[in-house]
C-alpha cells in the first residue's frame, strides 16, 4: 500500500511528460524509450499476467510485477539499457539514456 501511495504521489507531482513504459499483451510499449540522465521511468503492468523488468546486464530488476503493478527506476548514467521479462524471455525492451547538456 505504501508503495502504491508513493507511486501515486510521485505520478501526481511529476510533469506531464513522465516517461512511462506500459506492459500489455506480453510486450513493452514503447519497446525503445529515450530519456535524459536523471529521469525516472515508470513501468506499469496492464497485462493479465505477471511480468518483470530485468536488465540484461543485471543493473536493475523490478522483481515480479503483478497485474496493475507499478515500478519506477531512475536512470542516472547515460547509456543503452536492454531489459527483458524473466517469465517471458521473448519480451524485450530498451531504455536509451542521453547525457544532459547544460
Amino acid at each position: 500500500m505504501l508503495c502504491l501511495l508513493v507511486a501515486l504521489v510521485g505520478a501526481t507531482a511529476a510533469p506531464a511528460s513522465t516517461p512511462t513504459v506500459v506492459i500489455k499483451d506480453d510486450a513493452y510499449a514503447p519497446t525503445r524509450l529515450t530519456i535524459s540522465a536523471g529521469q525516472t521511468v515508470t513501468f506499469v503492468n496492464q497485462d493479465d499476467d505477471a511480468h518483470t523488468v530485468t536488465a540484461t546486464d543485471g543493473t536493475f530488476d523490478s522483481k515480479g510485477l503483478d497485474t496493475n503493478g507499478v515500478w519506477r527506476h531512475t536512470f542516472t548514467k547515460p547509456g543503452t539499457y536492454a531489459y527483458f521479462c524473466e517469465m517471458h524471455p521473448f519480451m524485450k525492451g530498451t531504455i536509451v539514456v542521453k547525457s544532459v547538456t547544460p
Binding site: 499483451d25 506480453d26 497485462d47 493479465d48 499476467d49 505477471a50 518483470t52 530485468t54 540484461t56 530488476d61 522483481k63 515480479g64 503483478d66 497485474t67 527483458f84 524473466e86 517469465m87 517471458h88 524471455p89 521473448f90
Partner: protein, 294 residues
Amino acid sequence: MKRSSFLEHVGWTGAGIAYTLSAGGLFAGRAVAAMNDTVDFVQISDSHIGFHQAANPDVAGTLTSVVANINAMPVQPAFVVHTGDITHLSTAQQFSDAKAILSQLKAPLIALPGEHDVLGNDFKPYLSNFKIPQSTSGGWASWDRGGVHYIVLLNVFNFEKMGLLGNDQLDWLAKDVQPVKAGTPVVVFTHVPLYALFEEWGWTTQDGTKALALLQKFDNVTILNGHIHQIVTHSEGNIRFASAAATAYPQPKPGTAPKPGPVTLAHDDLLHAIGYRTVELDGAAARIEDRPLA
C-alpha cells in the same frame, strides 16, 4: 531404429483421457479407467499460488481439490511430483500458502521449481519451503526405484535463455546415466519442455538436444514437464514427452493466440482444463491418465 517425430494435441473429455507412451508411439482414445492400485506416481504442475486474475480467482481452491482427489486414491502413489511454478511470484507468503496445501498430501512430495519460483534468480525462497530429495548442490537429482531410473533436471535458472540446463548439469547427467543399463526404464521430470515445443513462446530448452542425446541409449525414456499448462505429447525415437495440465489455469495451444498467458473459461470449462495425472509404468510403456477436476 526408425525415428518418428510427431506432435499431437490431446483434448480433454469430461471423463479424462488415457494414453500409453511406448516405443512405437502414442496410442490414445481409451476412457479413463476406474482408479486402480497400479499407479506408480502422480504428477501435478503449475499451481501459481498467488495468482488472482479472472482465469482462476481461486488457485488455492483448485490445488486443494487436486490434493483431496489424490488423497482419495485407494492406494497411495509412491510419490507426487510437482513440475514447477508452485507460486506465481516467488513471495514468502505464496510459498507458505502453497506449502500449507501441498503438505496435506499423504504421499511424499517432490517439488521442482519453475521460473515463477526463482524470480530474481533467487533460489532461497523455494529452498526455505521445498527441496528435492537427494539433490545435488545445483538442485538436480536422480534416484532408482522399482527398477526405474528417475531424473530431475532444472531448466529455469537462466532467464534470458530459458530454458537452459547449462554445462554443469549436462556434465552431471552424462556421469549419472553412464552406469545405467540401456534396458532400464528412465523417467525425467523438468519444468520447461526439454524439446522445441514452440520456440516463439519460449517453450523450449536451448541445450535440450544435448540432454536428449545422452538419453538416446535407453530403450524407453519418458519425459514429463509442465510450464505450458496443457497436455501435449510428442515422440522422438525412444523418447516420449508429455506436458501436463496445470492446477491453476490453461494457456492457449501453440500459435492459436497472439501470446501465451492465462485463458479465461467458464468455471465448468476451467475444471475440465486443469487437474492431475496418474502414471503407471508397465515395463516398456508408461500409461498416463490425465484426470481433470470435472
